[in-house]
């Protein structure tokens, strides 16, 4: 579903609208039968004595001749092709963008009752077929086939986490927050967020925590060896929209990996952004990722880094407490700010209200909602949160877009 809005935004001038417009009878059956169509007209019905009456809502439809007509006779969607296009745009793009929900429940009543046999499924599939990038090969299943990437460097970060620098034949194009599917033959495949910034080059970095069979196998690999990669997948932070703004980054545990990609992107063009503040909470001193790197940037005045750990007794004098501690004494002007939050879902339950209370709007607050994005292609369903697939429309979302999803943060 979430792929339809971008699909349609490219398809305004597509010949398919004329094709179905010429077939359409303009009878409005599609909209009248649609469980979610609600456009209406307002009419006055007079009593017979012309002295009283009632004002009533009556059903209307964007497919009708009169729908967009105005008093001087102008008609803003005068051809049936315009009206059909509008129907699709409203269903799958406009209302999606407005409410983050599609106006199609997939019941099929409109297709079933259409005398002209206009079927949204066919129309959208047709648009996909003519608009999406052709696949490099047409072999079925090719999208699941990994490419080889060579390990350039292996840097242990903590006891269990290691940074891999990889290189593959094809350059990578992505936004901070995107992820790669990484596989070891025979042991399986898993998604890993990209820890390096998008440079347009062929190398990239991943952080792997040894936890299961696959990750332990990855840890055993040495520079010069190969592993399998697919991607990058997903949508990251819209960095261009952040320029000129103050950035408040909030990281919890491994959530730092995602924000590192964003931080490095920002630092590469530091002068285009306002103040950058990073709040970073971890379990203990030992689990802090990229500590030296972060402190160097702090010392150089590039960013303002504040950390907190929950367990005492570490090597460094890091303040003790959970991440909410760091929200005290924050000097933030939220009107020109962006908040980017990346951590475990449990953390969002606390940070989101705090950020909103600070004055960030729902559109200014970006959240990383990583799930087990098994296929990365919007197909397997494992990363689905209610009605969306994280791999296709996330994992980075403005809060306004996911706040209605009960499975996103709750529970």
């Amino acid at each position: 579903m979430e792929s339809l809005a971008p699909l349609l935004s490219e398809a305004y001038d597509h010949p398919i609208w004329k094709e179905i417009g010429d077939r359409c009878l303009g009878c409005g059956a599609c909209t009248l039968l649609c469980p979610s169509c609600y456009c209406f007209n307002v009419q006055d019905r007079l009593d017979l004595n012309l002295e009283g009456g009632e004002r009533v809502r009556t059903w209307d439809s964007c497919q009708f001749d009169q729908f967009t007509k105005v008093a001087d006779g102008s008609d803003f969607r005068s051809h049936q092709a315009d009206r059909q296009r509008h129907r699709f745009f409203r269903k799958y793009k406009y209302l999606w963008e407005k409410h983050q929900r599609t106006a199609c429940v997939g019941c099929g009543r409109c297709s079933r009752e259409c005398l002209a046999q206009i079927s949204p499924t066919e129309v959208l599939n047709n648009l996909f077929a003519t608009q999406t990038e052709p696949l490099p090969e047409t072999t079925p299943g090719v999208e699941y086939q990994p490419q080889l990437a060579e390990i350039l460097a292996v840097t242990p970060l903590t006891e269990s986490e290691t940074l891999f620098r990889l290189h593959r034949q094809q350059p990578l194009d992505f936004t901070p927050g995107s992820f790669m599917e990484v596989s070891v033959f025979g042991l399986g495949e898993a998604p890993f967020t990209i820890a390096s910034p998008p440079t347009g080059g062929n190398s990239f970095e991943l952080v792997v925590r040894a936890a299961g069979n696959l990750t332990r196998a990855l840890h055993r690999l040495k520079p010069g060896e190969n592993l399998g990669v697919r991607g990058p997948y997903g949508n990251g932070f819209p960095v261009e929209e952040f320029t000129g703004k103050d950035l408040l980054l909030v990281a919890g545990g491994m959530g730092m990996i995602t924000l590192r990609s964003l931080l490095l992107t920002v630092l590469a063009r530091r002068e285009e952004f306002g103040r950058v503040t990073l709040l970073y909470g971890c379990r203990n001193d030992e689990s802090i990722l990229f500590r030296d790197e972060l402190l160097n940037w702090h010392r150089e005045g590039l960013i303002d880094v504040r950390m907190a750990v929950r367990e005492a007794g570490g090597t460094w004098p890091t303040p003790r407490g959970d991440i909410t501690l760091l929200f005290r004494d924050l000097n933030i002007n939220p009107t020109r700010g962006i908040a980017a939050v990346s951590g475990p879902p449990g953390m969002y339950r606390f940070t989101t209200p705090l950020l909103l209370r600070l004055g960030f709007s729902e559109e200014q607050l970006y959240i990383n909602l990583e799930r087990h994005m098994k296929c990365g292609l919007g197909k397997c369903g494992k990363c689905q949160i209610n009605d969306i697939c994280v791999c296709e429309s996330g994992p980075i979302f403005p809060y306004s877009r996911i706040k209605h999803l009960r499975e996103a943060i709750e529970g």
Binding site: R23, L25, G26, L32, N49, F64, D65, E113, A116
Partner: protein, 245 residues
Amino acid sequence: MKPRIGFFDFTGCEGCQLSVLNLESEFLELLELVEFVEFREVITGNGGALDIAFVEGSICRDDEVVRLRTIRERSRNLVALGACADTAGVNALATASSPEALRQKIYGCETPLLKTFPPSPLSDFVDVDARIPGCPIDGREFLAVLQALLMGRPPELPAYSLCVECKLAELPCTFEHGEICLGPVTRAGCDALCLRGGDRCRGCRGLIDAPRSAPYRKILEQNGLSVDEILREFRTFNVIDKGRS
């Protein structure tokens, strides 16, 4: 003074005037609202100047043209009442063969009263201020048009097709049980009465302003109709299609 209205009829079945009389529940209130000064079917007498003349029936003889023009002259508004007056309705079927041939066939001879021309809508001879389509008219629509004229605004007819009312009535598409239906190109406003009654739409309310003829014809052809059969379908009530709006 109450607005004065009159009813007149030419060639037709008088079912539309009857539909006005059938507004039993509203009739007494209607008498309070307007004065019925002429209504040949139930009133003896002639009414002089009228605010609204409702005229039923088609025109198919010279003496009818003369009478229609006299009615027009003494009426501030003239309304075509029903399909026959509006589009010549079912009468226009007579156009399918020549009046001479029909006359010979039915009456077997010629007399002056039988001298007719093809049944024509009122608008071929006089200005028509408003129209109430349908065979017969819908009493509620008659009241709505009357009210509009009394309020001094042009009456509006639904511009959309009958499919709308059929769908809102949650009826299955007539094409689904293998019958041809004129609903997709016929003006709504009858609340899909025939379809509710298990019949198909025969198009008595005339075509919508912008019927999608090309795609509709394609659908009829897909349903196995030949050109002749398609024409026959349209020829029950829509022999004369003037693409009026």
